[in-house]
């Protein structure tokens, strides 16, 4: 408001092009046909904007789209798309099954008589960025938390102190990056030092 518009720069910025992206596959609408969800993309666009739908999928549009591609090549492309869609659906299904079957382990580990650390393993299966989660734990508990590899070479988060109960609560609440983890998939275990281990 206070700035003077009188002495505007001689060269004006070029305004950005607004590209319409598909909400299903994220591609610009014209590229949906190369994605792995064309059927869903088309359904969505037909609902969303019938004019745009016709621009890309009417008989006429399909004719001109062929360009220099031969009919055989186009048929092959369509077959490929169908195959890709089936593959993507199977993959999504398998990923969901795997996710639902995977487990998050919160382990209370006794370091010595008075000191404990808490390790959290398996968050990445639920799409959690481990570094961000470690940071969230560190901030919440005002303690050290880091991503390290366990003996099996898998990443896990190690938090200083016994905070297993609190972490379970955070997962229940879906706090911060811990959103969307089913509590049923979380187990709490305890790792006590063997007697005379000191």
């Amino acid at each position: 408001m206070a700035s003077t518009t009188e002495d505007a720069p001689a060269t004006l910025p070029t305004p950005p092009v607004q590209v319409l992206y598909c909400e299903v596959c994220s591609f610009p609408l014209e590229y949906c046909e190369f994605g792995s969800s064309l059927t869903k993309c088309k359904e969505w666009l037909q609902e969303e904007d019938i004019d745009l739908f016709n621009r890309y999928y009417s008989e006429e549009a399909l004719q001109t789209k062929l360009g220099t591609l031969s009919l055989e090549a186009q048929t092959k492309l369509e077959k490929d798309t169908a195959k890709k869609e089936a593959k993507a659906a199977a993959k999504a299904d398998a990923a969901l099954k795997k996710k639902m079957a995977s487990q998050v382990t919160i382990k209370r580990i006794e370091r010595n008589k008075r000191k404990h650390v808490t390790s959290v393993h398996g968050l990445e299966a639920f799409g959690v960025d481990l570094k961000k989660a470690a940071k969230q734990f560190a901030q919440k508990f005002a303690t050290g938390a880091s991503v390290t590899k366990n003996n099996q070479g898998q990443d896990e988060i190690v938090v200083q102190g016994d905070v297993s109960g609190e972490i379970l609560e955070m997962i229940e609440e879906g706090a911060g990056v811990l959103k969307g983890i089913p509590v049923d998939n979380v187990v709490e275990v305890e790792d006590k030092k063997k007697k005379g281990g000191d």
């Binding site: 720069p9 950005p16 590209v19 596959c25 610009p28 590229y31 190369f34 062929l66 591609l69 090549a73």
Partner: protein
């Protein structure tokens, strides 16, 4: 380059960029892209600090408020992200591939000369030839928007003459993991 890219394993660290380095980055972008300072200011305002996201294999991604703007492989040319290129398609010289090559491009394959020189393809005229090692926007036959960003492997005139092997190395394309990420 981003066919498989996972932030948890492929990013080694994020640092804010010193203002002196920002200045030279800005100068590089202005020198290498077809863009005026006013337009650059629109998406990368001078007073906004950008962040360097260091990744494996010497990939540097520069982000503003978490949104990737441009990147560099070793000390190669500055490459806009595809989303940025969609907004400002004129910043890079244009090449085009025929419809047959699109699905290979979207699988991350390098672009072969015949796909660029065929009737559906496009290479700049001789007086606007692009030398080797430059960033180019990869457009596609019958499509309005770019589908990828690449680096020329040879001079574009050479591509027309030889017309075989790889013409453009694909660096970033629609549907790769950098496209999918959006925020870092």
């Amino acid at each position: 380059m981003f066919k498989k890219f996972q932030p948890s394993t492929d990013i080694s660290g994020q640092t804010s960029v010193k203002s002196s380095v920002q200045r030279s980055l800005r100068a590089n972008v202005l020198a290498q892209w077809n863009i005026n300072p006013e337009t650059l200011e629109e998406f990368w305002p001078k007073k906004e600090p950008i962040t360097l996201v260091k990744c494996r294999e010497h990939i540097s991604i520069y982000t503003l408020h978490g949104e990737p703007l441009f990147l560099q492989h070793y000390d190669g040319p500055m490459l806009p992200t595809l989303r940025l290129l969609h907004k400002y398609p004129f910043v890079l010289p244009k090449v085009g591939v025929d419809r047959g090559a699109i699905r290979f491009l979207l699988a991350g394959a390098p672009m072969m000369c015949p796909g660029l020189t065929s009737k559906g393809g496009y290479l700049p005229a001789a007086d606007a030839a692009v030398p080797s090692g430059k960033a180019v926007a990869i457009f596609a036959e019958g499509k309005e928007h770019a589908a990828g960003i690449g680096i020329t492997k040879t001079d574009t005139e050479e591509m027309k003459r030889v017309n075989k092997d790889v013409g453009v190395e694909t660096m970033h394309y629609l549907g790769d993991d950098l496209w999918t990420l959006q925020k870092l």
